[in-house]
């Protein structure tokens, strides 16, 4: 058994349990975090990672179990109590206030004031200091947060943590909204924090990241700690995957033969553009082909998908599906022509969180199940059940509220939606954001199967290796320009990055 060095334990959690109406989210979690380390928490979708950190940040109260902070038993009664102990959290969903400046966000909840009057200048100065400490002295504390990229919003979140006397920062999937450059930046910041003795609890489904910055690992499965304190250096990846999933997972992309030369062109864009965002995008996708868009966040990838789908009105060029030219700016026309979109932001753009799972799955197709305008919920539920079982959604109960699912399982609902609907063209924006290793392999295989069945697919992802591994052909995009179109076998990740860097410099 492990001998715990209590003197160095900053946070110790023992036997933590937490249930929600019927769902046992945590059923015995143990965890020990030392000062100055990067402690990674791994687990499948729905394993209980977010629930664990929400009990540590005071958002939830555990049903039972003990929490020790610097050796002392503590109860974390609420978010303020956690902050006072020195535990700061960056949630899976960014929680900054868009309408306020950076400095106002950083000091939100502990504003410096005399008699109600804010000390604006000193808050700005202190924020400037913290930003410099995070290696971002170029950002002005007076900038309104709404104008920042997701990466910079995260910096604000971290600055907020540092504005207090923080000893532990918990990060729930911080890299999910970042592209590879921004992830590098994040790692630099994390390294600086740990050098200052601050501990970081880091959650991510990307094992490569954990290899890069992690010190020790705790694996959670079905709400229980499977292993804790594993050293990153000494634990091979297959072992981690087995601990997480209980079985072996071939962490590879499915291979596919070349698309037959006589496969019909299903989707074609001709000089498509949206003024001020991207221009002159011409591409053809044939039945059975997967085309990937590689590029940085903000390069216009998602906007191109939206324009094809009619969710954004194109100002030039045309989109043609199976010979029919689509009316610009009409989602309805696109859906009727057989296009489906799985949007980038699943919470704000994809799901109705308070509705049951099956209604989200059939959101595009309920009218088809209906007879004379009358819903047939039984048929809908069955169709949805079939897909959520095929996708191994957990829990696979079509009547559960969508809000109660973990992030990765919510993502699967979006795929299920178009599987039920059936499409000729499928546009996937970040199809594996927040999805665990096991499910990721399943989703890749599923996308391949759909292609093999004749669907034309476009995939956008911030993970360049995912785009390259999945797609037959890749468009490298930078600042709204298509830099090059090539077979994915003829380019590698550094090659893409190199192109992008040169493209944006030009």
């Amino acid at each position: 058994m492990i001998t715990v060095d209590h003197s160095a334990a900053l946070l110790e959690v023992r036997g933590l349990r937490k249930s929600f109406a019927g769902v046992k989210a945590l059923q015995g979690v143990d965890l020990t975090v030392r000062a100055g380390e990067v402690h990674c928490v791994l687990g499948q979708n729905g394993a209980g990672k977010s629930t664990l950190i929400k009990t540590l940040s005071g958002a939830y109260q555990p049903d039972s179990g003990a929490i020790f902070w610097q050796g002392e038993p503590v109860t974390i009664g609420g978010p303020v109590a956690a902050l006072q102990l020195g535990i700061a959290t960056m949630y899976q969903e960014l929680d900054v206030v868009d309408g306020l400046t950076i400095a106002e966000n950083v000091f939100l909840g502990h504003e410096q004031a005399t008699g109600g009057l804010l000390h604006v200048a000193s808050a700005n100065a202190r924020t400037q200091e913290i930003l410099a400490r995070l290696g971002h002295s170029e950002i002005s504390p007076r900038t309104e947060v709404g104008q920042l990229s997701a990466a910079n919003k995260q910096i604000v979140s971290m600055a907020r943590a540092l504005s207090r006397d923080t000893k532990l920062i918990i990060m729930d999937e911080p890299s999910a909204v970042l592209d590879s450059h921004e992830v590098e930046n994040l790692f630099r910041v994390v390294e600086e924090l740990t050098m200052q003795g601050i501990a970081v609890v880091y959650i991510s489904h990307r094992l490569a990241e954990i290899r890069r910055i992690g010190d020790r690992i705790t694996v959670i499965k079905d709400g229980k700690t499977m292993a804790t304190g594993l050293s990153v250096a000494d634990t091979p990846t297959p072992d981690l995957i087995r601990l997480m999933t209980g079985h072996e997972v071939a962490n590879v992309f499915p291979t596919a033969g070349p698309v037959p030369a006589d496969a019909p062109v299903v989707l074609s864009c001709d000089a498509l553009g949206v003024r001020g965002i991207f221009r002159n995008v011409s591409l053809e996708v044939r039945a059975g082909e997967i085309v990937g868009f590689a590029g940085l966040v903000g390069s216009g990838r998602s906007e191109i998908l939206e324009a094809i789908y009619g969710a954004r009105r194109s100002t030039s060029g045309t989109v043609t599906v199976n010979g029919t030219v689509l009316r610009p700016g009409s989602v309805d026309a696109a859906v009727r022509a057989g296009i489906g979109l799985s949007p980038e932001e699943r919470k704000s753009q994809g799901l109705i969180l308070d509705e049951p799972i099956f209604k989200n799955v059939t959101l595009s197709s309920f009218a088809r199940f209906a007879r004379g305008g009358f819903l047939r919920e039984g048929t809908e539920r069955e169709a949805a059940r079939e897909q959520i079982e095929a996708l191994e959604l957990r829990p696979a109960d079509p009547d559960l509220a969508t809000r109660s699912l973990s992030g990765g399982n919510q993502q699967k609902i979006l795929l299920a939606r178009w599987l039920v609907h059936g499409t000729a063209v499928l546009l996937l924006d970040e199809p594996t954001r927040g999805v665990d290793v096991g499910a990721r392999a399943e989703i890749y295989a599923l996308i391949r199967r759909l292609a093999a069945a004749g669907t034309a697919i476009i995939v956008v992802s911030s993970e360049i290796d995912e785009v390259l591994g999945l797609a037959d052909r890749v468009l490298v995009i930078s600042d709204g320009d298509v830099l090059t179109t090539t077979n994915s076998s003829e380019i590698d990740e550094p090659g893409v990055l190199d192109l992008v860097m040169r493209g944006s410099a030009a």
Partner: protein, 344 residues
């Protein structure tokens, strides 16, 4: 990775591993919310029966209460759709007033020609629906906030009604029409039957049709609905047309009950309707709506009014009580709702 792995799950104390809590879940669901309303209604009835005795607890009085509720009830059904879809309609009362004016003027004009009173009904419905259509276009395509657009319609429709009617009251004296509204069917007044039919139709449309599903979806997340292929803007126009249509139906009922069309009909009805809908359990931010709750909400308010009138209490006291009830109902609902979702 050998000895560093600690096998987890110590035989921890069983803790508060509560049983699934079927009852709590039920109370969190729509049945539970309606149960709360039924209890509130029962309490009111008990208070009425105790304080006013037989004057309150008679069949006649029960019919009076429901009859009193039926006009505002019909408007509230339309309002339920608007609020479920994430909108608000402040103009329902004055649109109803306008409809009574236009329809009754038409009736006076037509009296000499002996045209069927059905035409008057059609005119009232058309005026209401048209006003709703204008609301919907301005909100969905003009992108004006619903609160402001319908506030403008509230003021504008009232003004228009005054202009057209010259601030005078038109008496409807078509005997067929008045006779119809004075008649009973199976012992219940026609007004109640209309309310019943509208409520049942509303329930079916909201819960059993694609239109209802779209309404809930659009209220729950308009952007996700749009990206799933639902025509959100067009649907919002339909929604406001429904609110206008129910205002038109209410106008016909008002004409039948009072025999008069006037610009002041329906003043402040929008507030009564919104209160009934929200007390009934429809979420003010949209995404969840209940017709049964709305009907119960309307009945609670009309029972309250009746209890107070029977006890000769002033309308001022009534209004204070209404205010208290609104806050209490919303507080209660939040407790039920949070139990359901946080699973405490």
């Amino acid at each position: 990775m050998s000895e560093q792995i600690t096998q987890a799950a110590p035989p921890a104390p069983a803790g508060v591993d509560a049983p699934p809590g079927v009852i709590k879940r039920m109370l969190g669901g729509s049945a539970g919310r309606n149960l709360g309303l039924v209890i509130a209604l029962a309490v009111l009835i008990a208070v009425g029966a105790i304080t006013a005795g037989d004057r309150f607890a008679s069949l006649d009085n029960v019919i009076t209460i429901i009859r009193f509720a039926s006009i505002i009830g019909v408007i509230s059904i339309g309002m339920t759709f608007v609020i479920t879809a994430g909108g608000i309609d402040l103009s329902v009362g004055s649109v109803m007033g306008l409809s009574t004016v236009v329809a009754s003027l038409a009736a006076v004009q037509l009296a000499s020609t002996q045209t069927s009173w059905l035409l008057m009904v059609v005119i009232a419905l058309a005026v209401g629906t048209l006003a709703g259509f204008v609301n919907g276009i301005v909100i969905a395509y003009g992108k004006v906030v619903a609160f402001m657009a319908t506030l403008a319609m509230l003021v504008g429709a009232r003004g228009l009604a005054e202009l057209i009617s010259n601030r005078s009251t038109q008496i409807v004296n078509n005997q067929d029409f008045l006779g119809f509204f004075r008649s009973d069917l199976l012992g219940l007044p026609i007004l109640i039957w209309i309310f019943l039919v509208v409520a049942i139709a509303g329930w079916i449309v909201l819960n059993r049709t694609t239109f209802g599903r779209r309404t809930v979806a659009v209220g729950g997340n308009p952007e996700a609905s749009r990206l799933a292929g639902i025509k959100v803007k067009r649907h919002m126009v339909y929604i406001y047309m429904i609110a206008g249509l129910t205002s038109g139906v209410a106008a016909v009922m008002m004409l039948g009950r009072t025999t008069a069309g006037t610009a002041t009909h329906g003043t402040l009805y929008e507030l009564d309707a919104i209160a009934a809908v929200v007390v009934g359990g429809t979420l003010l931010i949209g995404g969840r709506g209940t017709i049964v709750g709305t009907v119960l909400g309307v009945l609670i308010f009309s029972t309250l009014t009746n209890v107070f009138t029977q006890n000769n209490l002033s309308t001022s006291v009534q209004n204070v009580a209404k205010g208290v009830i609104i806050v209490a109902a919303v507080l209660l609902q939040q407790r039920f709702a949070s139990r359901g979702s946080r699973g405490k």
